[in-house]
Symmetry: C2
Subunit: 569 residues, 2 copies
Amino acid sequence: MRYSRLFPKSSKQFSQEAILASHRLLSQAGYIKESVAGRYYLLPLGLRVQQKIQQIIKEEMDKAGYQELLTPILHPISLWKETKRTASVGFELMTVHDRNNSEFVLGGTAEEMLVDLVRKYQISYKDLPINLYQFSTKFRDELRAKGGLLRLREFVMKDAYSFAANEEDFIKEYKQMWQTYLKIFERLGLLVTVIESDNGYIGGEYCHEFVVPQESGESRYFISADGSYAAHEDVAKIRLENKNIDEPEKPLEKVDATRGSTMEDGAKFHNLPLWRELKNVLFVDENGRFILAVIRGDLDVNETKLTHVSKVYLLRHATDEEIIDLVRSFPGFISPVGIKNGLDKDLKMIIVADESLYTVKNAYSGANEKDKDYLNINMNRDFKADVIGDIAAAFEGATAPSGAGVLTAKKGIEVGNIFQLGFYYSKKMTDATFFDKEGKPQPYYMGCYGIGLARTMATVVEEHHDQNGIIWPESIAPYRVHLIGLDLNDKEILSRAEKIYDSLCAQGIEVLFDDRVGVSAGEKFSNADLIGIPVRAVISKRTEDKLEIKKRDQKQTQFIPLKEIFKYL
Amino acid sequence: MRYSRLFPKSSKQFSQEAILASHRLLSQAGYIKESVAGRYYLLPLGLRVQQKIQQIIKEEMDKAGYQELLTPILHPISLWKETKRTASVGFELMTVHDRNNSEFVLGGTAEEMLVDLVRKYQISYKDLPINLYQFSTKFRDELRAKGGLLRLREFVMKDAYSFAANEEDFIKEYKQMWQTYLKIFERLGLLVTVIESDNGYIGGEYCHEFVVPQESGESRYFISADGSYAAHEDVAKIRLENKNIDEPEKPLEKVDATRGSTMEDGAKFHNLPLWRELKNVLFVDENGRFILAVIRGDLDVNETKLTHVSKVYLLRHATDEEIIDLVRSFPGFISPVGIKNGLDKDLKMIIVADESLYTVKNAYSGANEKDKDYLNINMNRDFKADVIGDIAAAFEGATAPSGAGVLTAKKGIEVGNIFQLGFYYSKKMTDATFFDKEGKPQPYYMGCYGIGLARTMATVVEEHHDQNGIIWPESIAPYRVHLIGLDLNDKEILSRAEKIYDSLCAQGIEVLFDDRVGVSAGEKFSNADLIGIPVRAVISKRTEDKLEIKKRDQKQTQFIPLKEIFKYL
């Protein structure tokens, strides 16, 4: 490719919003251009990189026995209604009507479409496992879309789906995909950490995220000192020590407590440890029901865990007015003890207790009226939780669940994920079955697996750049060699440069040839650094019958005779 | 690929709606599966074919100097409003709102997006021509979508856009793309005819369609005996002979005419030739305005031509009630003479005369009241046309415009098209300019160029099949060799088959290996015929150390020793 013909040229300008290196460098070097927030043009250079990423993923998926296909982008909404995901996905889902008033979902993930496809055929146990994948444009109606390619509303995703006869066979698929992902990210020049993660609206019982540790990432996770435990903050577990569990239960007592409304105010007033206090946080779910989360005072509630344990989709904090007028309690003095008694009749509430309450006795908290506290609260005796589960937020310094050292918090970019789906889809959708050996229909045991291509590209740039520009790994660089011609006014040098360009191309080497006349050496060099092609080769008056070679990730240059250039490359 | 693992297997079932061979064969052989009308899954076999078509197009586009990029699928509607195409495209356009209430068009073509991209950069005349293309999913909200891949509501299209400094440079691009298309279709095994065609809602002044002559096609066109003239019926011109043009104009006369309402009734009643009668057809446009089309009685009005000449988007025939109550004329007795006098004040009408009226004098027609006719009507003396243009439908046996013989009507499948756009977009959109040598901003002179991939695939099947199945050209066959193992219960034969499969794969030859045990030879053979891979290679007890080779498009088989198979292939 001749740089003189390339659209567009690099530019020094960039948006003030481009805080991340990948956003700024990819924009300046001419890889991407924003259309509107979260929607980008992939320019010729950018598309080349994305295609190479796609090719690497394809090779590894094919090796793993997956078969590539392509589903429509518009999914009949009836399928999403079968699984009720129209409700769970909420505002991230875009829908559109056609002229016949049929409604479609703009695909964000394609589980229903794949199940609908597979169930159109008579599948026998002999046909399983079926492993299918595609590269296709996905839509996410994100509330905020900043950060260039790291959070997009529209992007090409590799999404794969496995259909197995049973859990055992599925686990083989899951492990194989895990290994396949490790190979893919290694070839892409990314060092990933695999963490347990939350399945969001995908469904299923467990899943893993492949993250690249990066301060610019949006995934916060905890990792044990020895690395044996790593989990996203939304699912990270901690080991809790027992506190005063051997103490005998004392009688419940209601006392005056003219104090402030914080947890610390309570601890100070009673001169008791924070862990003995109950932290009571009142939420409202998507149906207007109150959810009272109760947790040990030294811990925090993780809202994602709380939604799962409560089986709700959306949570918001209750307002002071709701606490006073509807629940008849008081901010800062909420207590699970007797709280449902004050509730208006037409309102509903569930109490969700964290497992940490098993580690404490004779706790204290408010008494649902101003300046009154209860002492010696004991779960089951003084109040009943509707649900008991893990709703505690992990924190730095906590003990890993295995007991293997303390947890450290890290941030990373999520570049891929793998999900166990189990029967989540196949039991919700009719006829999503195969025939077993006895000829009886059985639901498929499923999994799904995703990698976003553009975000992967941006992550590679976050990992591989310096102050002058991008430093592409050879595997996905848009070109292998950046040939720079200097002194091209000199016809003899021009002809030499053209000849070397032609012969590199003829050898199948991908070359970007800066053939511009009247552009300074300095500009061409800084341009090359910005674009980040692995090998820079300069031809000029000075180089005679050699090429001056510099690798993008090294400082020194060396002169290679033209004849030896192929051997060198 | 092992056939035992392939998803899905071929099936004898097919939809009753699959009338076309391509629809039926691609469905049965497992290349495609319908999701809902007009939206198809491309299954692993089908996607392989589409990818090969894509690769051929890409190679030829790259050779022609075009650069591949990728635009978002969702186009901000503001861009389509800039060019007013939201009005002209009408119901084929789908739009969607995001959660922030921004409205987007689901891309059907991407002219606005490309102009919007290019105008984001400072383009100099030195940067031109800029040639960009993409492969991306397009959406057309077609009223009817039948016929498998021939009329889709969602499909991958190669769309290309050229930006030139002036018409002269553009014409070079246009000619080059024409040649590029010829090469592409030749490589795909398609014999195309290039015809002048209508630009629909794309805009611009002229365009060409690449059609494959086929009875199943939806494009009707006319071609001269020597092939030097070929044009879609919507634009096809004919050479008109002068009739009684030398006759002196006689005085206009209103006469009683108790006759029927057809053209023939008039000719019979007056005993005058049909060509001397005026055919008056009353339409209503999208704004409720009347359009009176006037043409020589022996010709028909082509509505597409009429929309262009009248500069309207949509036409419908006026009803009898409208003719009587609003226009104060009478069905079968409409005349351009004085017709506007009867019209209600708040109504508008334009008279559009066909150029054929220049070839006739002293014509006759109705007189805007029942059973009254005018004789000796002469345009300009007795009525004035608001517009005079070519609105005549071509017909078989008419003379080609060049005079080169008579026209024959044919049908074909449109597989590609190329459009001159001129300044249509660059003058409607602000700042769609480059800087000329004097540094002055000038609008780009544009063109655009499309090929639908799935329709191309279906067209190849329409052209290349027999009663048993598809016969793929080697260039786009999903696999090169269909290896069939028979007698695989015999371990020695199985091992020989596996060995030959492995060694073919190792040589980079794409093989579909029917490794199924317990399936009859007959079923495997008919399966192979259906799928249509160019070379069938059988290994069985009977073949010993040879392979029994049969080409899909030939009848005879031959035995090739295993050792010579690579040489043979």
